[in-house]
């Protein structure tokens, strides 16, 4: 999730112009549709190719969509209404199959993780299939990828179509501009000088970073939950060790009677325990990689893919070994504290 909200390199050069007071959620932002033209004309040094200024007028909206007209279940989709220039401004976006939706044709295109966001199977959003909202069926004309960004879980459609669907013909959510010779200060000067437009300039990266900080408490909860589950695992592991060793008290007594020293027995028990913990950790890692890696998870801003990478595998495996090592010592010591005659009598 953190990686998704940290966004990509291309965002370094993109500045969002959004409504003052809506810095915490672009979906709430409403700015005059004229801002696009005024910004393009007023801020010198924006990126420009073949006479087209990289200024993308966009509407961001969370809309309930249905699988079909007859369906009664609302699915919560994140929509972005865009003009063709958006594909230049957002250089991370790559069309995987099909084509961009055409204005007025009730067409949409879906991000790679949009299906996860909606909670439907990926096949359900294949090119050519339909979704229902605003009393109409919309045909999926293409699929795009924007790996590691919130866009990856969005549904994109022509700006004018979304303006009609959201009944906000004369307003936008934001204008996103790409810098070339200009700096952020140039856009900021424009935004702060045009008090009449009630707009604020904010680097796209900072915007998503502040959204990420908004999710801070959720991250804390996730970490606390993970720690609780992990400590449950440790407690379970310790319990198992105690039970396993308690059943072997007599065996330990017998070994001592045969002449084995306590230290030799502790080392032996720890070895056994670490070995079985390592086997368990290995099995857990394999299951983790097979079942969880790449699994997409929904959150309100979109969806992100779980990553079981080398550090995660390493942490899990070392954690498992630590349970084996630390978990073995207390019950082993407890086991050996018993005098041999008593250990031999234990049932």
């Amino acid at each position: 999730m953190q990686l998704t909200l940290n966004q990509r390199e291309s965002m370094n050069e993109n500045i969002m112009i959004i409504g003052t007071g809506s810095e915490e959620g672009v979906e709430r932002s409403q700015i005059d549709a004229a801002v696009e033209g005024i910004a393009s004309a007023s801020v010198p040094g924006l990126k420009e190719r073949a006479g087209v200024v990289y200024a993308s007028a966009e509407i961001h909206a969370a809309l309930p969509v249905r699988e079909s007209r007859s369906s009664t279940k609302d699915l919560n989709a994140v929509m972005r209404g865009v003009r063709p220039i958006a594909f230049l401004v957002h250089s991370d976006v790559e069309i995987l199959e099909g084509r961009a939706p055409r204005s007025g044709m009730d067409e949409i295109m879906v991000g790679q993780l949009a299906a996860t966001r909606l909670g439907v199977p990926a096949e359900r959003l294949a090119v050519g299939s339909k979704l229902h909202f605003d009393n109409r069926d919309w045909t999926i004309s293409g699929r795009f990828a924007a790996p590691g960004t919130v866009m990856n879980a969005e549904i994109w459609m022509p700006l004018t179509d979304l303006q009609v669907a959201t009944k906000r013909e004369s307003t936008l959510s934001c204008v996103i501009v790409t810098l070339e010779d200009a700096t952020f200060a140039d856009v900021d000067v424009f935004a702060k000088s045009r008090l009449d437009l009630e707009i604020t300039a904010i680097p796209e990266r900072s915007y998503y970073a502040s959204i990420a900080s908004f999710y801070g408490p959720i991250r804390v909860m996730i970490i606390v939950t993970a720690v609780l589950i992990a400590s449950g695992g440790v407690m379970g592991g310790l319990n198992t060790m105690y039970a396993a060793f308690a059943a072997r008290v007599r065996e330990v007594g017998m070994l001592q009677a045969l002449g084995y020293t306590r230290s030799a027995i502790v080392i032996n028990l720890t070895e056994e325990s670490v070995f079985s913990a390592a086997s368990g950790a290995l099995i857990g890692t394999v299951f983790g990689i097979l079942l969880l890696d790449g699994l997409a998870v929904r959150f309100s801003m979109g969806a992100f893919a779980l990553t079981i990478d080398a550090p995660v595998v390493f942490t899990g495996f070392v954690g498992g070994l630590a349970v084996g090592l630390v978990g073995a010592l207390p019950p082993a010591v407890r086991c050996l504290r018993l005098p041999i005659p008593e250990a031999l009598k234990s049932v």
């Binding site: 702060k192 000088s193 008090l195 009449d196």
Partner: protein, 168 residues
């Protein structure tokens, strides 16, 4: 069981510690500031200051004005690396002056309507330096001396500042 209890209490301890609110960001001036960088910072208050709303109502392009206001009006009235900032008429209460308001960014005047805020704000532009270099920060009361920039409409007023005095 006793281990579980211990673990849970330790975790709650960490959680509680983690819940403290982070202090609002108010960067202080850099340690080494050359005299040239802050030449616009005035030692004495310029005479004849008028309020933001008065200036806004009457000033014309090219006119020299002295205006008094408070730095604020949006979540980031001062942005890193940008020479412009906004000030608000002193008659408008900022969120910190409203009892019971626990706004983390009281300088954004989020309790005012956008129309009132626009009518009571002006933009201050320094000669290509960051206002923080001179120690300016959100909610500072200041008096600005300068010339009025272009006014495409009555809502827009930028003062190209020649001097800024911070009221202590």
């Amino acid at each position: 069981m006793k281990y579980s209890a211990l673990a849970i209490s330790l975790i709650s301890l960490f959680t509680l510690v983690g819940c403290g609110e982070q202090p609002s960001q108010t960067a202080d001036a850099g340690a080494s500031v050359s005299v040239q960088d802050v030449a616009w910072l005035l030692e004495t208050e310029p005479a004849g200051a008028v309020s933001v709303s008065e200036v806004k109502a009457s000033a014309t392009e090219g006119q020299t004005v002295v205006v008094r206001g408070r730095i604020g009006g949006r979540k980031e009235p001062i942005s890193d690396g940008s020479p412009v900032f906004t000030i608000v008429d002193l008659s408008l209460p900022h969120c910190g002056e409203i009892p019971g308001d626990k706004c983390k960014t009281p300088w954004d005047y989020c309790c005012e309507t956008p129309e009132d805020l626009t009518a009571n704000s002006v933009t201050i532009m320094l000669a290509s330096v960051d206002p923080r270099v001179g120690g300016l920060k959100e909610l500072d009361e200041i008096v600005v001396e300068g010339a009025v920039g272009p006014r495409p409409n009555e809502s827009v007023l930028t003062v190209i500042a020649t001097g800024v005095f911070v009221v202590k």
